[in-house]
């Protein structure tokens, strides 16, 4: 506990000068040294200084211990994805915000607040916190600097700034020793998650497996399920259908038993992708109907389910026009360029190939590229390569081929 900072906190709170507080207790230069934590005074001096401002020393020690405990719990909740507890502690700690600023707990507190805003997907607050932390970096210890970079990477992931997120994450990958022990699982998890977005399934599966092992070992069950879902998505994409199916079964049961409704829905959505991979479009369509009914209409997830249902309908020969109309009416209420692009794509897939390809080239490819959707832009590039090769337009085919190759390498 930095007692000097606490004394300074109460002195400024009581609008007292150093001269007035030191009077009769110690010299001004002595008090100045105490306040800058350059010197630890005798207990009787501390008591006298605090008593002059009406503060009880022992109570102060207890308050500090309580805050330390609450902050520790806040951090633990963050690592275990216990958002409910984190939310409760956030408000408790917020009440003591000014006081915490005067203690050595401040860096940890501000760092985990940043993580909290990212969990809550509170973009404006997270941005403000990021700017504030940038000013604090000078006072960070080595593990705090690591943590800041790590949270920054997660922050960029939240904003879909995949490349920036990866840049931050790779800086932290300087050998296993540099990863703080309790953050190993989180590090592997975020890396696996990012690699899925980047369409690098081999690497992603490697990190997802490491995350699963870590969370299993540390009995971190909710995060374990998250890592298992990443692994199942990877298995699906790598055509390991039996393994993916086994994991989805476990996940659906455990997500239901632990009351993780959102995770249960996310698992179902990805399980449906597995059904589509194995050509079971009819079954996928039925599952999507149930899933759609249990989601709020204004969510992005709901729109994604609708798009998935359009795809399943088209593939199993069911009329999708009512679903397309539903997406269009939702887009009128809340426009979403990405959803609109997908909707147009599925609609055009029923018609002529040249029309679809020109839409892919003029609208979809630039959109996905600009917004950092690497997997999607690679997919479009691959389609365009095939198309232009058939058309014998080698220059264009080559352009998209080189884009595909540039973004397609497996990086470890």
């Amino acid at each position: 506990m930095n007692i000097g900072s606490v004394i300074k906190y109460y002195r400024t709170k009581n609008s007292m000068t150093q001269l007035k507080l030191a009077d009769g207790i110690c010299s001004i230069s002595h008090l100045s040294k105490i306040e800058s934590n350059a010197y630890v005074p005798h207990e009787s001096t501390i008591e006298a200084l605090l008593a002059k401002m009406g503060v009880h020393w022992q109570k102060e020690v207890e308050r500090h211990k309580r805050l330390e405990r609450q902050l520790g719990e806040f951090i633990d909740s963050s690592l275990h994805y216990d958002l409910e507890n984190m939310r409760k502690l956030y408000y408790q700690l917020k009440m003591e915000n000014d006081y915490i600023q005067s203690t050595e707990l401040v860096n940890q507190y501000e760092l985990y607040k940043f993580r909290y805003y990212i969990y809550e997907i509170d973009q404006p607050q997270a941005e403000r916190q990021k700017n504030m932390l940038e000013r604090l970096t000078g006072s960070f210890s080595a593990p705090e600097k690591w943590l800041y970079k790590f949270f920054l990477s997660v922050y960029y992931s939240m904003l879909n700034k995949t490349e920036q997120s990866l840049d931050c994450l790779e800086l932290l990958d300087q050998g296993i020793q540099s990863i703080p022990q309790k953050f190993e699982g989180e590090y592997y998890y975020q890396k696996a998650r990012l690699m899925i977005v980047l369409d690098r399934f081999e690497v992603s599966a490697y990190y997802a497996e490491l995350a699963v092992q870590f969370y299993q070992l540390h009995h971190n069950y909710i995060r374990l399920m998250h890592a298992q879902l990443l692994l199942a998505i990877n298995y699906t994409r790598r055509n390991l259908h039996v393994q993916a199916n086994g994991l989805y079964e476990v996940l659906q049961r455990n997500a239901r038993l632990t009351g993780q409704t959102e995770l249960f829905h996310q698992t179902s959505y990805n399980y449906i992708e597995l059904l589509k991979e194995t050509g079971e479009y009819g079954k996928a369509y039925d599952f999507l109907r149930d899933l759609k009914n249990s989601l709020p209409e204004d969510s992005y997830f709901y729109k994604a389910v609708l798009l998935s249902k359009i795809e399943a309908a088209i593939e199993s020969g069911i009329d999708a026009s009512h679903l397309i109309a539903e997406v269009r009416s939702l887009l009128e209420q809340s426009p979403d360029e990405q959803v609109e692009i997908y909707c147009n794509y599925f609609e055009k897939r029923n018609f002529s190939q040249p029309d679809l390809m020109s839409y892919c080239e003029v609208i979809m490819f630039p959109f996905f590229r600009k917004n950092g959707y690497i997997k999607e832009s690679k997919k479009i590039a691959a389609d365009l390569v095939n198309y232009y090769q058939q058309q014998k337009e080698w220059e264009k085919a080559n352009f998209y081929r080189s884009y595909y190759n540039r973004n397609g390498g497996e990086l470890l």
């Binding site: 890592a227 995770l263 994604a304 997908y342």
Partner: protein, 51 residues
């Protein structure tokens, strides 16, 4: 050339040939996997577990 040496030389050639065929097969498998991945239609947006 002695018989033993001839057999050894033949074994080396055979091993090289088997290796080359193996490599060719591997390339074909890789090429098939790549074009299969490219031939799939555009997938719907991915929904990932939380950050």
């Amino acid at each position: 050339m002695k018989m033993g040496k001839k057999i050894a030389a033949a074994a080396v050639i055979a091993a090289v040939l088997v290796g080359a065929i193996g490599q060719l097969e591997e390339t074909e498998v890789k090429a098939a996997t790549a074009s299969q991945a490219e031939a799939k239609p555009m997938a719907v947006p991915v929904i990932l577990p939380p950050l």
